[in-house]
Subunit: 336 residues, 2 copies
């Protein structure tokens, strides 16, 4: 209630409102003694700038919004930390919204950020958000797609080549002598999932005696992976794949739990080799250390923020598309 405004500060310091504002924003324009008095008044009154008023006048804020697919996926929190780190260097803050693999949530955060007038939006989109982003851009808000190879769009993007990643994973499985590959992943309207699967297809396509099946899951979570793993275990041994490529490490961890712990003695990699994607911190500590495809998560976040800031500065800039290459990490789960 007793929150004081810039007017109160001005009155107490015996200067005008404009001077207080100058102390805060253009200190060089104010003489030493006056600035001193203003600072004292601010301290005494516990004055805090009203961000709403500030932003209303200024037209834009100093925060950027980041919407991730799933905040419980360590890949995204690592990415978020990368972005935050870079933002902090520029005196900006990152507001993290959890899309939760849910279009409504994604849309709600987009609304929120739009209303809040953030400087820019970093988004790892679930569906097609170009229309929404187009509108944002029209109002002067920059947007960069993260973890999405969006060369089709007019928005900059920072991503990892997921097709190459899928290839890398399945080439490795094939090199280990596996032939009946199962891709456990979904939903397929998530671009990363579709791309990783596509990479797997390409790899399998070049081996005439290899086959690829799809075990669909409803979400990229440990729980969903566990369920998929159980469905594999329930099959007669002869009908099981001899290798599983999971769309991400969360799924892979779930599959692993089902195979090794609940499964009737399925051996990994003996009976079924397993490889995940993202190389999260926990992958190497799994019951069978998990092979994976590593993405430079923090670097993606940092890079995306850099691009966002450049575009916020100069909206006329052409869209750029940074694509990082994934890296194969071999551990015991593929019998490396």
């Amino acid at each position: 209630m007793a929150s004081s405004s810039i007017r109160d500060v001005a009155a107490r310091a015996g200067v005008s409102v404009g001077t207080v504002s100058n102390v805060l924003n253009h200190p060089s324009k104010v003489s030493g003694p006056a600035a001193e008095r203003v600072h004292a008044a601010i301290r005494d009154l516990g004055f805090v700038r009203n961000g709403a008023a500030r932003q209303l006048r200024a037209g834009r804020s100093s925060t950027v919004g980041l919407i991730v697919l799933d905040v419980r996926n360590p890949f995204f929190t690592d990415l978020a930390r990368g972005a935050e780190e870079r933002a902090a260097q520029s005196g900006l803050s990152v507001l993290l919204g959890n899309g939760d693999e849910n279009r409504d949530r994604e849309s709600t955060y987009l609304d929120l950020f739009e209303e809040q007038g953030v400087l820019g939006v970093l988004i790892s989109p679930l569906g097609d958000v170009t229309a929404r982003l187009e509108r944002l851009r029209a109002r002067g808000t920059a947007a960069v797609l993260v973890d999405r190879s969006g060369d089709e769009s007019r928005f900059s993007s920072v991503s990892v080549d997921d097709i190459a990643g899928g290839r890398l994973a399945v080439d490795h499985l094939l090199a280990q002598g596996r032939r009946r590959i199962a891709f456990v992943g979904g939903p397929f309207d998530i671009r990363q999932v579709a791309d990783r699967h596509r990479g797997a297809e390409l790899s399998v396509g070049s081996h005439p005696d290899a086959s690829l099946e799809v075990v669909p899951v409803p979400a990229l979570t440990v729980q969903a992976g566990r369920a998929a793993g159980q469905s594999i275990v329930r099959r007669p041994a002869a009908e099981r794949p001899d290798a599983v490529f999971a769309a991400n490490d969360l799924i892979a961890m779930g599959v692993l739990q089902a195979l090794v712990m609940q499964g009737g003695g399925v051996r990994v990699p003996g009976d079924i080799a397993l490889i995940g994607y993202d190389d999260i911190d926990f992958a190497s500590a799994a019951v069978v250390p998990l092979s994976s495809v590593r993405q430079p998560s923090a670097l993606i976040g940092r890079t995306a923020l850099d691009i966002l800031l450049e575009e916020a500065d100069d909206p006329a800039l052409d869209a750029r598309h940074i694509v990082f290459q994934p890296e194969l990490i071999v551990r015991e789960s593929t019998g490396g």
Copy 2:
């Protein structure tokens, strides 16, 4: 640039600005046909409310801020999801700030939320933030401490009894016949760490032949745990503890990696039993499935948000302190 204001909408719909505002905020006060025209105008113009202006006038926003200790800790992301879920039910949004076990970051987010005039703040504090929260409250912003048993303070809190949790863990280790317990955790100015350690002390104190040592770590991360684990492995076998209680599962996973994979054949639980804290999703999929102390993370988030909303409604409400009880989860890492 071409962003349209409520005045543009009013002009196009042939009504006054007041009416447009009513359509948006008090639909019952506007007749059908007029509301229709306004909605059409909003659609045509792609009008989006300016949150800053809205909030400036209204004095409060519809977002709550959540500051967590470390966004990479699954415990906190689960908690965040619980809070988000409940917030969504009330048409609110949660902005997630990553304190990153760093006082500056924590403070920066507090500043940000204060300037933004959020409805309330949920915080899992690193240091002593009561002075800051006191000021927030003076300006009409509610605050609830999460994962912190703050009965000493005048702020509501939702937490888990960490002393009981520490007891639970070490009682279990003692029951398994272990006597030389090491507590791996830090920094101790994090209340949860101190409390879990205290619980361990209490437990050990009632067993005359048991001892407790502390292996301090600089942060609650997998990396820090790994380093601590390595330091244990490097000791002569006789000087190693026969059980490790890790301050959280991240630490435990790191210790586990060091002991089992890099260590010279240290067996878990054969040589050293290991128990963590939080029971994150990954704990059960660890190389040796990890015993842990489970906290109802999502429930904590939901409850904290409920309390926050009640206090935001009625600031005169007395502070409440909800304390949940932790639950022991026994898996192989303690030879259960």
